[in-house]
């Protein structure tokens, strides 16, 4: 077996990882996209058809993770597959155990970091610019800033995850805790908090200038939505109840 995993292979995994959720399903979740990302490496490693078939069966079974953080596992598994092919030993059980163990941390950190912090914070900056600036060109610039702010950590995590996973192998598991990403978390939390504060202040200010009744309507909607969502209601009630109250106010006043 040839050890032929070089940097351009990282790029291939990186590009293919954008399709990792393409065939997300209720049975094996990410497994098809995951296998698609790893298959160019496996084709190099396993020239024997039976071995390549074993590889496909091994990886099509089940896998789930945050789509960006799956890169850490992709890198590590690429290295483990390479080692297994190189040393001609059967580490199938070890690969299975590693994949099962890493699902939880990858999902938890990715959800906390990207869905709960980086995504809303980046959107908030774009939202603020589009809301405040009057010219279309200025709004467009802020939409570009939104996409850049979000995709810098996104692309970085996808690529560096592969490289780090590859170099750390099984020990990448120990590096996957939210504290190791506290820099990103802190910076984007501050950006998000600032953006949100200015957006709310701007909306209140606009309400004061436009029609004073809008201020209590804004406050009521804010409070009702916050209260209902805190009680785990879906998005619909927190939006439709304030909307109905606003229409009733519109009829009465």
């Amino acid at each position: 077996m040839k050890k032929d995993l070089i940097n351009k292979k990282f790029l291939v995994i990186f590009l293919r990882s954008f399709f990792i959720q393409a065939v997300w399903n209720f049975k094996s979740m990410l497994s098809i996209g995951w296998t698609f990302s790893l298959s160019p490496i496996a084709k190099k490693l396993y020239t024997n058809e039976k071995q390549y078939q074993d590889f496909l069966i091994r990886h099509l079974s089940f896998f789930n993770a945050h789509p960006y953080f799956a890169s850490f596992a992709l890198g590590a598994i690429a290295r483990l597959e390479e080692d297994m092919a190189d040393e001609e030993k059967n580490d199938r059980e070890q690969i299975e155990k590693f994949k099962n163990a890493i699902i939880g941390p990858l999902g938890a950190i990715g959800d906390q970091l990207f869905w709960a912090i980086i995504k809303p914070s980046s959107i908030m900056v774009g939202f603020l610019g589009v809301l405040i600036f009057p010219e279309s060109s200025q709004k467009l610039i802020f939409l570009c800033i939104l996409l850049i702010l979000y995709n810098i950590p996104h692309f970085y995590m996808r690529y560096s995850g592969i490289v780090r996973g590859y170099s750390e192998r099984l020990s990448i598991y120990r590096k996957l805790c939210i504290e190791n990403f506290s820099g990103w978390r802190r910076v984007y939390s501050i950006i998000g908090a600032l953006g949100f504060s200015i957006v709310v202040a701007y909306l209140i200010h606009q309400s004061i200038q436009h029609d004073l009744i809008e201020v209590p309507v804004f406050g009521m909607s804010f409070g009702v939505a916050y209260f209902l969502r805190s009680r785990r209601r879906m998005t619909y009630l927190p939006v439709f109840i304030p909307l109905l109250i606003a229409i009733v106010i519109g009829i009465l006043i």
């Binding site: 202040a201 998005t235 606003a246």
Partner: protein, 227 residues
């Protein structure tokens, strides 16, 4: 741009939400602006994008949970609005409001459409496993293209059908008492913004109290600076 090309673009952009890339181009503020711009009505797109964006920021696709497809709803709302505002330009604010309400309802249907796609993907997985068993080993890429095509067709069909239904509904609603409705719904925009801000604020609920206090102080300071 015509309705069909807009729906096709809407379906392609919607794939970014769950299936491929996930670079945020499907977020309402980006997607609605893009659709508005392609329809020569960027301001309507921007307005709908702003109104619908805050509502969905706090909806997190954590784990394998199926959530309302707010991005799809926003795209449908924008296509409806840009195709209806031209017919009744005097009632633009009302058209946008109805389109947003319809888009919100469609986000619920969108979640079920996503479940249909994911159930269809189980069939694609089973077919793929059968082929691998039969030593047909170059089928993974094909499985991805089949799934994306299936996903795209579902999205396109949903966007097109719901847009046609939405346009007819709005045209029917805008026949009677339009002036009264404009008066009644004059606080609707600020209520949607308020709800969106309240929903977004739930994201900081788990933060330390000093961060929540800092956010509140920042709001007051920004407000004082403006006033």
């Amino acid at each position: 741009m015509g309705l069909i090309p807009l729906c096709l673009i809407g379906a392609v952009v919607s794939l970014d939400t769950f299936a491929i890339f996930q670079v945020l181009i499907s977020q309402p503020i980006v997607a609605c602006t893009l659709i508005g711009w392609l329809s020569n009505d960027p301001m309507t797109g921007i307005q709908i994008g702003l109104l619908m964006q805050l509502i969905w920021i706090s909806t997190l696709p954590v784990g394998a949970v199926t959530i309302p497809d707010g991005n799809l709803g926003a795209i449908i709302a924008t296509i409806i609005a840009v195709n209806t505002v031209g017919i009744v330009p005097d009632y633009k604010s009302l058209v946008i409001l109805f389109a947003i309400i319809f888009g919100l309802l469609m986000s619920f249907v969108g979640a079920h459409a996503l479940n249909t796609v994911r159930t269809g993907n189980v069939y694609i997985l089973n077919q793929l496993l059968n082929r691998v068993e039969a030593m047909k080993l170059n089928q993974v890429g094909k499985a991805i293209s089949y799934s994306l095509t299936f996903n795209f067709i579902i999205l396109f069909a949903m966007i097109l059908s719901s847009t046609l239904i939405g346009i007819s509904m709005i045209e029917a609603i805008l026949v009677n008492n339009v002036e009264s409705w404009i008066q009644y719904t004059r606080y609707a925009d600020i209520a949607i913004f308020g709800s969106g801000a309240g929903l977004t604020f739930t994201l900081v609920k788990g933060y330390k109290p000093k961060i929540i206090i800092a956010v509140l102080i920042l709001i007051v300071l920004s407000l004082m600076l403006w006033i």
